[in-house]
């Protein structure tokens, strides 16, 4: 791809990424929202994070790996325990990565 085309593509990507991030906050922030909408918005964090998480654990390349050979799934257990017991985002990331790195090092 030519240099200019690539830069225009990047600018286009930036625009279509930014507008969905900005517009809802911009439009909704000073509105008094109906009770149902507020309840709905409160369920967005749990829903969107769960919808992101499960595929990120199970999808390997083009297919779903729901078996004992899926290291991502096993590592989710210690990582999840740290998150639950310690309430620590930092600790969870460290433990998760450490478990994956060590297991890969052992069974390489």
């Amino acid at each position: 791809m030519a240099e200019t085309t690539l830069l225009i593509t990047l600018a286009g990507m930036a625009l279509v990424t930014y507008l969905p991030r900005l517009i809802p906050a911009w439009v909704l922030r000073d509105k008094q929202l109906p009770v149902f909408v507020i309840a709905w918005l409160r369920y967005v964090p749990v829903s969107v994070l769960a919808a992101l998480l499960l595929p990120s654990l199970l999808i390997e390349g083009e297919s779903i790996n729901f078996s004992a050979s899926n290291l991502y799934l096993w590592a989710a257990i210690p990582a999840g325990l740290v998150a639950w017991k310690k309430k620590s985002l930092f600790g969870t990331v460290i433990i998760g990565m450490l478990v994956v790195a060590i297991v890969r090092w052992i069974i390489r």
């Binding site: 593509t9 990047l10 279509v16 439009v27 149902f36 369920y43 964090p45 829903s47």
Partner: protein, 240 residues
């Protein structure tokens, strides 16, 4: 000039640095390795160091950047790359809407700055903070800025190392994002209703992906699950 200086000093003093840094730290820890992985992949896909870092500065969207890099490598049409980016990042609309009520007292430029750096991970962090009443715009924007700096730095290091490294797996860099989602989700679950909605959303997302909605699964699952949650909650609260 002194006015600017005084303003800067007052900003620096008015920020709770301990809180700010501890909120940003886990995201930094996740973004450095993932940004590094992105940088390596981008260089191997044929982007220059400048282009690689520029994307992290002006687009700043982890999964979309990784997808875009693989599309660049396959020489896909630019319009198709932009359209894919748009669809992959549409979920941020839901996050932006969910945080909107907490920005009622913010100035317009603060909303403009904040939204630019709204990612899955910063959303996770801020929705926890905002629930605790910690929605001061300055420290919120500063947290975002620190997070993006880590992303840009990771991209730069990865781009520089790009020609030397072909595999990022031995360092488990690829597990930083799933681990972060695990923590952000578990920290959000405060009661049984949340847990049930999370399970429904996760299951729906996977099923939709399996059915072929590989770009839309997150958005559709979120809308259905959140509607279900809000529906049940509103219905339970109604006087019988």
């Amino acid at each position: 000039m002194t006015n600017v200086k005084q303003k800067l000093v007052s900003i620096v003093y008015n920020i709770n640095w301990g809180n700010t840094l501890s909120a940003a730290m886990p995201v930094v820890l996740g973004y450095l390795p993932i940004g590094f992985a992105y940088g390596v992949l981008a260089i191997n896909a044929g982007l220059s160091i400048f282009q690689t870092v520029l994307m992290s500065i002006i687009v700043y969207a982890g999964s979309a950047q990784l997808i875009a890099v693989s599309l660049f490598a396959q020489a896909i049409h630019p319009l198709s790359i932009i359209a894919t980016t748009f669809i992959v990042n549409l979920r941020h609309m839901l996050m932006s809407a969910a945080l909107a009520p907490h920005m009622r007292d913010w100035k317009s430029y603060q909303v403009i700055l904040f939204s630019f750096e709204l990612t899955d991970e910063s959303f996770g962090v801020h929705s926890l903070r905002f629930d605790r009443g910690e929605n001061q715009p300055k420290s919120t924007i500063l947290i975002n800025f620190i997070c993006q700096s880590a992303w840009v730095l990771g991209s730069l290091l990865g781009a520089v190392a790009g020609n030397l490294i072909q595999d990022v797996r031995p360092f488990a860099l690829d597990y930083a994002l799933p681990a972060m989602f695990i923590a952000l989700l578990i920290l959000q679950i405060k009661n049984r209703k949340h847990l049930i909605i999370a399970l429904i959303s996760a299951g729906l997302s996977l099923i939709l992906w399996q059915l072929g909605a590989t770009q839309w699964h997150v958005i559709i699952a979120t809308i259905i699950a959140a509607t279900l949650g809000a529906g049940v909650e509103t219905w339970l609260k109604q006087p019988s």
